[in-house]
Amino acid sequence: MEEIKVGLEVHVQLVTLRTKLFCSCSSDYRGKPPNVNICPVCTGLPGSMPTLNRKAVEEALKVVLMLNAKPYETSYFFRKTYFYPDLPKNFQITQYDKAGGYPLAHDGSLKLSNGKTVRIERIHLEEDPGRIYYEGSRATARYSLIDYNRSGIALIEIVTAPDMSSPEEARDFVERLTTILSDVGINVKDYEGALRVDVNVSYAGGERVEVKNVTGAASVEKAIVYEMFRQKTMYEKGIKVVRETRAWDEKRRITIASRGKEFEAEYRYMPEPDLPPVTVTESLVQKVKDEIGGSQENRYRELINDGINEELAKKISSDKDLFNIYEKIKFYEPSLKQLAANVLANEISYLKKRYSIKTLPEDVSGLAEILQNYRVIPDHESVVAYLKKWMEGEKVKVSLKTVSAENLHDDIMQIISENYDKIKNLEYNKKFEFLMGILIKKFGKDNKKILVEELTKVLNKTK
């Protein structure tokens, strides 16, 4: 196969911010009625002026440092002019690296799973536009409706060099980036549309084609696969691939030529006169460094030191939330840590994704209950059901109505052998009472009947 070159422009919403980039409107727009989080600034009313949310600079710097990029001491905001209904000022306030401008940071890198390093050219801050809604479909809707709740949400754009040479590498890049983001608390997976990618693909040294607005790592891979074969087909037919902008159609899984590509080259960038330059001092960088101290690297090391295997450690360390739960369980009952690691990396991590549970409960006593009884819960389905209950914040009490005689036999034998010294000289009734106490504690009163039956059987055999 001929060589392809892929470069990405990844737009990430700074979901950890409570307010927008240039005004104090709430940034919590998902699931809200249209146009409730708006003000003169984010709707571009005449006379309104942007003021920079300094916290956004700090959050962006966390990502900058995690990606080994270098912040500029002074960077500038620019106006990028294009007319579009979701852009209330008809220019976007962004940062620019030409025309005397400097972005927030430059020259970073990210290492892929296969060891290859992808260069990051620059990282800059900018505002999100609003959203256009069509009732029904775009073709049949009588009106284009605009919701400005998203307008002015803080974004960072991460621009890579064209260093990826397969769809899988691009996917891996996005996945690894997602992990790094969650490492500094930016859990883009929990927020729909919080990570959007513009993909640049060129086949066999041809012109680059930009595919705009691809959401999520899997779609990035699919879009590149499609584009690769589209360009390949053209190449083989001798049709020249032109430099153009295309859109990713998530439903049909194809890229389509965008209208309005002609204003691409002409954004008429100019410095934003209402905003002073962004200054990043050494002390600010140090402050941010301190904040991100608990990095994935550190978490991974701790898990390995605990004797957790590499695969599990990798999975748990990549999600701050999973790691926090692991630590709590370890504190609660150290002997449960290995089991906890297993369950966290597998069942809990799966359930989190499957039911889009954003944060795990603070209280881990329910989880400890499940783990303590893990061996006697008769089937995997029940384990999963208990875990889900805990993850949804409900009280968990493991009851073993369905505990099976077969498994019980082994458990009883183990208990007897563990306590052999204590019971060897007891008479039958006392022995029975003593062992029953342990069994009830472990399997619950609900199972008393079967416990009595099985214990009787065992004791009668060993009599």
Partner: protein, 464 residues
Amino acid sequence: MNLEGYTLQLILKEIENGSLSPEDINEFYYKRSVDLNRVLNAYITLLEPEKSRAEGDLKGIAIAIKDNISTKGVRTTCASKMLENYIPPYDATAVSSLKKHGGSLLGKTNMDEFAMGSSGENSAFGPTRNPLNREYVTGGSSSGSAAAVAADMAPIALGSDTGGSVRAPASFTGIVGFKPSYGAISRYGLIAYANSLEVIGILGKSVDDVNILFKMIAGKDPMDSTSVNVELKEKNISKPKILVIKSFVELSADEVKKEFYSSIGKLESAGFEINYADKFSLTDYMLSAYYTIACAEASTNLSRYDGIRYGPKVESAGNWRDYISRARSFFGPEVKARIMMGTFILSAGYYETYYLRALQLRKIIKQEFEKIISNYDAVYVPTMPVLPWRIGNAIEDPKIAYAADVLTVLPNLTGSPAISLPVGKVREFFVGGQFIGLKNEDMKLLKVAEIAEKVLQVKRSGRN
């Protein structure tokens, strides 16, 4: 009751000693404005006086506000068809400051559309007429604010000054026009024409009047990152040291020149120390730098007018491009011209040639100006190189029309404070003289102007 010729200072004194009530005052200005507006067209919107109490520093007095300054619940048109029915949901910071000081709103004044113009003729609501001679222009772009103050239709007014828009009409109507340092008054709510050049200014009957109002609305505003706290303490100067730039004076018409030089003589005999510089080496580049920057900024500032969230209803045209071109047809010709120039200036390939060069020029102009002014209290030059012209005798060649701004753009490029006051008289008109100070030394400049005003004592008919 007749308040003709009353200064704000006098009105406040009369309220304090009980001889006037704010109701009477507001009623007087309102009624007089209703009468005179038919001929002068100074107001786009006049508000019936509300009950007010003599509270705060402004004691309930109603003030005229230029129609590019946002006023909550009161339409703010920028004298454009584009904003004919636009009612802002918020007050500009300067307006809320006035309200906090007990001021209220008398009306919204006419202007050149989006503050683009030097004559007051480029208004979708018709030209403002000069109270000194109704056949003549008032100067612009704060034309209505100047006419209202000059014709006693308001005790004082807010305007805005991007390249002389407060000082030019003040000069043409024989009143005082103050352009503070860049950032001294918050621009939040001032509908932007050229952000890096403009500032809200004050038009009044005396230097004291603008001083009073300035201190109420100046100061850093969290909503405007470019705003600053300038020192507001009164300054003491006994013998102002003044620098006259001869090349500026030489650009003026003979009758302007003559009056201006005669004012220098009066100032000198009153103890002003007058110094002369032959020329300001960058005189020839000031207008080019100014118009390049102003048009570039304007073209992006005005891109938001698309008829979606506010503005005139645009008949649906099917596609976005068609829609946007219809929506933007509501701009007047001067506005369209400047948007097109700005769009060109910012286009790929021209940005470096024009815009970046203009920014560099501006930097050099600023450095040179700061160097020459450092030894003086103020620079003194005429405000306008010409006297008011007849309405309709619009100067066809924009290069000549824009040249009317040649003496006023310097302080906008440097961010310096400047104040125009009447310094001489030609027939029914006045010649305005302009003092320019060092950035953020507004109080020193006001002091110089106050002393000059006392020395020159330019009388006008019907004025105390």
